[in-house]
Symmetry: C3
C-alpha cells in the first residue's frame, strides 16, 4: 500500500490537481452506475481537454491537456497502477471548422475521441465511430479504463506496461488526421513491485516528424545553463534512474537508438537477478511499427559518463531529416558535461 | 496421450477426411522409403490441391484446398502436434496458361510448390526451384514435414509455434506471384501441454490487401442474425478461448492491433503462473514483417465484454485503405452485442 | 579463465596478429591515462584502418580492416568476452577527395569514425561529430570499449550479444554515406558460458543491396569442389555448430529467413533445458530494422540434412532483386550435397 500510494502520488504530481482530477470523493456518484461489471470503482477522475494549438504554417496542430491552457503533444502522460480503475472525461474544444478541415470522409460525423492501448474498457469507452463513443464539438464524454491485474492461473496477462492513448475519430474512422495533428499521449501502467524513475521522458515517432512528434527545429530546447526537464529537453544527472517511453504513429517504420546506454528487451528494460535473465536479449536499438509502444529504465551515464548522448531513429533518411535529439547527461553534481551543447544538426559542441 | 488424441482429432476435424487424408493405414507403403533419416513414420497423409479461383477483375486468384472444390486463401489451416511427422501430396491443377501469365522470368519452368516454415524437412521437400521440389502443371508431389520436438540438452529448439506454408515457385524463384495470388495458409504446431481454443481464426496481411488476404469489400461477411465462423466472419461468444494466427506476405510492413484485448508476447500469448512471467511484455499491437507469423489465445471479451471490436493494421494508410475488420464478441448466451454491426468502413453501428 | 582464454584466442585467430593487435604488453602506457573511470585496463589493442576499396562502376566502396591491405565490408568481426575492455586505434586512410565526394553537408568536416553498439564507452569514444570523436584524413584516434558485465542486483543489463560497429561521420552527421559505402562490421560479445561455434558468418542487409552488403552478382562465391568459408561462401558440414550474425543498415525494412532450420528467439538462439524455455518463441524468419542486429547458433542440417538451403530477405521485392544467397550444408564427411550448386538466381541445381 505504501508503494501504491507513492506511485499514485507520483502519477498525480505530473498533472495539475485542480483541473486535472479530484480525489476519490470527487468521482461523480452518477459515474458509479456506468462502471462495467467486474471493474472496481474508479479511484481517480481525470479531466482531459482536446484543443487546437498554434499551427505550423498551415498545418493544424491539436493537443490533449488536463487543463485546456496546458494542452500539448504528446499529451500528458497518464500513470496507473495495475489493479486500478480510472475515469477520464474528455472535453472536445476543437472547433467544428477545424474538424471539417481535417475530415477526409464526409460520411463521418465531426468529433474527437480517446482510445487507449493495453487497459481493459467496455465498448462504450472504445473511442470509435461505430460504437458511438466519440465526442462532438463542444460536448464531453467519460471513459473508464481498468488496468486489469494478471490472472495467471487462468492464463490471463495483466496490464503493466508502457502503452499509449490516442484519437480514433479525426479525419477518418481510424483517427489518421487526429494522430498526425498531435492527439496522442503515453499511458504507463506500473506493477507495485516496479522501481520508480527519477524522471520519465516521452518520445514519439511519426511520418515526417522529429522525435517528440515535433517538427524541426523544436526537437531540442535544452539550455545547458538552466536545464529544464521536458520532452523537448531530455536531461539527467549521471546516476539518476531515467525512464523512456516511446510510441509510434502514422505509417512508417522506425528504430529507436540511444548512444552510450543499453537495456534488456523486457517489460521494463530492467533485468532481474534471476537465472532466465541469461536468455534475454540486451538491446540499444529497437524496431517499432505504428501502434507499438515500449519503455525502459536506465541509469543515466552508467559507466559511459556525462555527455550529450544522441537519441535518434536509425533509419538514415529519418535521422538525416531531423528525427534525432540528445539525452543530455550532466555530472552527478548537476554540472553540465564538457564542451558546448550540440545544435539540432549535431554540428557544434566540442 | 489423451491430449494428443484430442489435438489430432481436432486438427483432423478441420479438413474433409475423405479427400483430405487417410488413416495411418492409408500412408502409402512406398512413402516409407522416402522418410528422411531420423524422421518418424508419417502419422497422416494429407492431399492438397493448388487450383485457380475466380479472379478479381483481371487479377488471378489461386488457392490451396484439401479438396479441389474447396480451395481458398488462406488455404486450409494445417495442425500438427510437436513430435508428429506428416506427408502431404500436392496436386498442381493450375493451368499452364495461368502460370505462364504470372511468370516474370522465362528461364523459370512452370509449376507450383509447397514450402513450410518452422518444421523440419529434407531438400526434396523444400518446395524450391533449385532443389527441383516443385510440381509441374497436372503433376503431383509428396512432401514430408517433421515437427521436431525440442532436444534441450543439446540446445535444439522444438517446433511448437504458429507458422505458415506457401508457394515458392509461381512468378519468380521466390514465389512472389503465387503468394500474391493466394497460395499460402497457416500451419499450427502444438505442444502436448498447450490449451486448445474453441475456434481458430487466421488473418493474413499483404501488399494492397485487406485482412484475410482479401480485397475490399470481402473483409467481413459477418451476419449478426446467423453468425457463421470463418476467416471473414470473426465471431465468438464472451468467455470462449479464441486463437488468432496472423501471417504476413509481400513486401510491406504491417502491425496487427486488436481492440479490447491484450496478450503476452510469448509462444502462445498465454502467460504462465510462473515468476519469469513478470518480465514478459504484454502487447495489443504487434509489428510483423513479410515471412513472419505469430499467434495467440485470448478469452473473448474478458472484462471488456460483448462488442464489435476492431481488428486492423495500425499503419494508418493501411487501415484507412481497408486493412481492418472486426472481432464480433457476442454475449455468453450467443445473443449479439448491442447495436447494429458496423459496415466495412466502421461507419454504422450504434 | 580457461574458457576466457579459449574465447579470446578464437577471437584473435580471426585477425592478423601482427598488424591487428599486440599483446597486453603492447597496450601503450599512454593509453592507461585515458581509460575511463570504472573501466578495467584494456586487455587488447586492435588497429583498424578505414580504406577505399575498388568502386562498383562509379559507386565508392569503403571498408574497415585490421590490415589496410585486407579491408572489407562487412569489416572484420570483433569478438569480446563480457567483462573485457579493449582499445581500438582507427587510422583514416580514406582520401580527402573521396570524403568530399561523399559529403552532402558542407558544414561537416571531413573524417571517418567508429561508433559501436552495445558496449559502454565514454563521450570521447562515441565516434560522432558533436563530440569531436572522429578522425580526419591521414590521422588516427584510439577508442576504448568496455563489455560491461551484468550487475543484476542493481538491475543493470550486461553486454553479451550480437552487436555491430559503424561509421557515424561520412556524408552526414549520422554517417549515412559511410554506412552505404561499407564502413560497418559485426561485434560479438560472448558470455563465458556461451557455446563456441565452429564458424561464424556475417550477413548485412541494406538499401538496394544483396546480403553481405554486396551488390549483385557477388552474393555467393561458393565453389562446391573447393568450399572456402567466407561471408560470401556460407558453407558447413552437417552437424557443425554454425553462428549467424546479421545487421541492418540504411532505411528499409528487412526480414531474415533461413530454409531448413529454426532457432529460439533468445540472446543466442540456443534454447536452454529450463522450464521457461516453453514460453519462448521459436522462429525461422526475423524482422529487422536499420540499426538492429541479432545472431544465433544452429546445428547445420540438423534433421534437415545436406542441401543448398536458401537464405534470403522475405520481402519479395528484395529477394527477387537478389537479396538472397545459400547456406551450403555438405555431408558430415565434407562431401557436397547432391546435385549442382544453384546460381545466383537459384535457377540451376538439381
Amino acid at each position: 500500500m505504501t508503494i501504491e500510494r507513492r506511485t499514485l502520488l507520483r502519477g498525480l504530481s505530473a498533472v495539475p490537481v485542480a483541473a486535472g482530477m479530484t480525489g476519490l470523493s470527487g468521482v461523480e456518484s452518477a459515474l458509479a452506475d456506468d462502471v462495467p461489471a467486474g471493474f472496481p470503482q474508479p479511484t481517480r477522475h481525470l479531466q482531459l481537454y482536446a484543443v487546437e494549438l498554434p499551427a505550423y504554417d498551415d498545418e493544424v496542430r491539436l493537443g490533449y491537456g488536463h487543463d485546456p491552457d496546458k494542452a500539448s503533444y504528446p499529451g500528458p502522460t497518464i500513470e496507473m497502477l495495475e489493479g486500478e480503475c480510472i475515469a477520464i472525461t474528455l472535453h472536445n474544444e476543437v472547433s467544428k471548422e477545424t474538424l471539417q478541415k481535417l475530415r477526409t470522409d464526409k460520411e463521418i460525423p465531426l468529433g474527437v475521441s480517446l482510445h487507449p492501448h493495453g487497459v481493459r474498457y467496455n465498448r462504450t469507452s472504445d473511442g470509435t465511430l461505430h460504437s458511438n463513443s466519440y465526442v462532438a464539438p463542444g460536448k464531453k464524454r467519460t471513459y473508464i479504463w481498468y488496468a486489469r491485474p494478471p490472472a495467471r492461473k487462468r492464463g490471463i496477462a495483466g496490464t503493466a506496461g508502457y502503452w499509449w492513448y490516442h484519437d480514433h475519430m479525426v479525419g477518418t474512422a481510424h483517427g489518421t488526421a487526429g494522430l498526425n495533428a498531435g492527439l496522442y499521449g503515453a499511458l504507463i501502467v506500473r506493477r507495485k513491485s516496479d522501481p520508480l524513475p527519477k524522471h520519465t521522458y516521452v518520445t514519439a515517432m511519426g511520418d515526417g516528424m522529429t522525435l517528440n512528434g515535433r517538427r524541426y527545429p523544436d526537437t531540442d530546447t535544452y539550455d545547458m545553463e538552466n536545464p529544464k526537464r521536458s520532452n523537448t529537453s531530455i536531461v539527467a544527472n549521471q546516476g539518476e534512474r531515467i525512464e523512456f517511453v516511446n510510441l509510434a504513429l502514422g505509417s512508417e517504420l522506425h528504430t529507436w537508438h540511444l548512444h552510450g546506454h543499453n537495456w534488456a528487451d523486457t517489460r521494463t528494460g530492467v533485468i532481474s537477478d534471476v537465472p532466465w535473465a541469461d536468455d534475454i536479449r540486451i538491446i540499444d536499438n529497437k524496431t517499432i511499427g505504428p501502434g507499438d509502444s515500449f519503455g525502459f529504465q536506465v541509469i543515466a551515464g552508467e559507466m559511459s559518463g556525462p555527455g550529450h548522448w544522441m537519441l535518434h531513429c536509425h533509419l538514415q533518411t529519418h535521422s538525416d531529416m531531423g528525427m534525432s535529439t540528445f539525452f543530455h547527461v550532466h555530472k552527478k553534481n548537476g554540472d553540465p558535461p564538457p564542451g558546448h551543447p550540440p545544435n539540432h544538426d549535431g554540428h557544434t559542441g566540442m
